[in-house]
Symmetry: C2
Subunit: 409 residues, 2 copies
């Protein structure tokens, strides 16, 4: 590919949001020249002593070395500080023992510079798979990063972790609990696990809330199952996906079991998850698939993902074609319990099919008008029980092929 991709037409209007500073967190970004030139490609987040770090990771069986290292290190609080270091341009995946050595070198250098244990340094690498990470280029800029640390540099961090993303991604919420403010701010990268050679989604969320690991981790896992694990661009799964939530406790506000906090964290995670879909390669439409009436929530999600991953459904949406036959097909192949003669489908507000047949008086023009917008909603009711789920995806356009196949020619 020559030159940067144009910004996705689905990018949030107004650009990168104004994110609040989070007590106990400082950021820095700089140019290490891992692969790109003339842009920042490494970011450091410095976290105050007492920070708790929870996370979720790719389920791939071919996980990259930094992922295995991070999983092992989750926890806190500890008396020492902590740090997150991320590079773009090289994924340090499928690199064997050299990959482990690179993680050791980078985490060791960060630990030395910040005077914290290496066991509290979390890394991630995103970019080309299978090439050794030139870790010396990273270790040589760590003192420079330390010197630049600033509570207000989160947008620079969001830009430094981009690969084929067409816009940086950020989201935040500030809530009040007992009259005291608690902030949550997060950044993400990913154009849908599908960037050429650079398949990774990374998410970092920071809060000054006070919460123990045993409370934070299940909360993060639960919200993740309803947000990041409910998005798909093309069904492909990165070897490096990483989501970390760091709670510094700097606000002094205990949020354990607080519904307002869970709700705000869920909103930040959902916002970032949607931004990843909005930057899906070649995406021209943001698609919501709502499934109700399934035998269970698990079944509903299975149906939703089957529809959202179907190339036939996705190309029909790209073609603004209210092709409900393809939706029926994708429900049928999902493996979840379904009864053809109880299935009902809506496109937006338009009832297309009811109880396994075309709805009486179905207005195809109205359905087509809905498909012509850049936000498309498919609602599928299985008519069996109360299971429900919502899944988000984008359409499949020739631009996807251009980015992923034709770019060599």
């Amino acid at each position: 590919m020559a030159g940067p991709l144009p910004v996705s037409p689905l990018a949030p209007k107004g650009g990168f949001p104004d994110l609040p500073e989070i007590g106990g967190v400082r950021f820095a970004a700089t140019e290490a020249g891992v692969k790109y030139s003339d842009r920042a490609d490494v970011m450091l987040a410095d976290l105050a002593p007492g920070t708790v770090i929870a996370g979720t990771f790719t389920q791939s069986k071919t996980r990259a070395a930094p992922v295995l290292d991070c999983e092992f290190k989750l926890g806190g609080p500890s008396e020492s500080g902590a740090a997150i270091l991320v590079n773009a341009g090289n994924a340090n995946a499928f690199t064997g023992i050299k990959g482990v050595e690179a993680v050791q070198a980078v985490t060791g250098a960060v630990a030395l510079e910040l005077d914290i244990p290496a066991a509290r340094v979390f890394t991630a690498s995103t970019g080309v798979i299978g090439e050794p990470l030139p870790h010396d280029r990273i270790t040589s800029v760590i003192s420079d990063l330390e010197a630049r640390l600033s509570a207000s540099a989160i947008s620079e961090a969001a830009m430094a972790i981009m690969t084929t993303d067409t816009f940086p991604k950020g989201a935040a919420r500030t809530i009040e609990i007992g009259g005291r403010p608690v902030g949550i701010a997060g950044i993400a990268k990913g154009s849908g696990m599908i960037a050429p050679d650079m398949a990774t989604m990374l998410v970092y969320i920071f809060t000054d809330a006070r919460i123990g690991f045993d409370d934070l981790q299940p909360l993060v896992s639960d919200i993740c199952s309803r947000t990041f694990n409910c998005i798909t661009v093309d069904s492909d799964t990165s070897t490096s996906d990483t989501l970390l939530v760091a709670a510094t406790g700097a606000s002094g506000v205990d949020v354990r079991g607080d519904a307002q906090f869970s709700d705000a964290l869920a909103k930040v995670m959902l916002d970032l998850a949607h931004q990843v879909v909005r930057d899906g390669e070649g995406a021209s439409k943001f698609v919501t698939v709502e499934v109700t009436g399934a035998m269970s929530d698990v079944d509903a999600k299975q149906v939703g993902l089957s529809v959202a991953n179907s190339p036939l459904v996705k190309t029909a949406i790209a073609g603004e074609d209210a092709n409900w036959g393809r939706v029926v097909m994708a429900v049928g192949k999902s493996g979840a319990e379904a009864d053809r003669d109880r299935l009902s489908i809506r496109f937006g507000e338009v009832q297309v099919a009811l109880n396994g047949q075309v709805a009486e008086g179905y207005d195809e023009d109205a359905a087509t008008r809905h498909m012509q917008g850049d936000e498309v909603t498919l609602s599928i009711d299985l008519g069996l029980a109360d299971g429900r789920a919502t899944v988000w995806t984008c359409d499949l356009t020739s631009q996807y092929i251009a980015i992923n196949a034709d770019y060599r020619s």
Copy 2:
């Protein structure tokens, strides 16, 4: 889409093969005008008394009415004859009670004309989903079909069942058992379960071998799991896929437990399965994915299908890019047991990765030369145990998007 699609560049050289006549089977095709005009769109196969019929069907939970009807009718031999009637242009799927009525009308009319029980009449419909089948157009041509029946008309039958196929598909084998000839001839349609609004693969195989249902059905199911259930174009599954094998017994040769017969039947089924992949929409390369060293054959097939269905792998192949990082990714996401550090990959004869790292002396130019051919082989060794499977697919090109999305614009 305006006008017919150009014939796939992967179509077999030499056109439709010269298929042998099979004792006990006669064919006819004619124009019923179900949807298309100026082409035959309905075919009838007349089967002699004593014919055994085995089959396999789509696993979809939203199966079409003719599929449910056929499943129920498998069996034989019976003293009466049997028949297979197929129409193209309308799938009679997602049509509720009207769909069942249409099947009743068509099977009843065939039964009356041929003087056989309706329980021995098998139908299939392929085409648009969700529109009532205008079954009177079919019933009105059945006496015409009966009048045209001929042992040599199998190629006309193969053409009458096409929808968006770019070439008719046929294959045959003749073997000798105890000095007496046994023939097997089959036809198929399908451009990979992915044709716009017309997602169906249909396969009909005829033999004059003598074999009971209890021997034929497990043989057909077993071969199907290694042939038609090992191909994929885009992971989408039709509501109507049907494969029937009719054994008339006219040769008088008992083939129960005969390895030569099983082998010949497997070759015909594999040949037809490959022809379906070669007609995959937009296909420019025929891809073989060989998986060895898995914990089980089931795991191996899971890995093979994960690779063969990955949009990233398929677009890389379209771009003639020896992108083994995407193969690693697809192995990792398959869910099957895998160990990153034991994984080895070949593209053609070129060793790309060995034990979880780039192979020493890896020759990228040689790998690229292999990718430039129109037959690409990916070999993946998981290095764990003896499980193995082979899966076939095609690449994903912008022509796929053009056919499935852009055709309205």
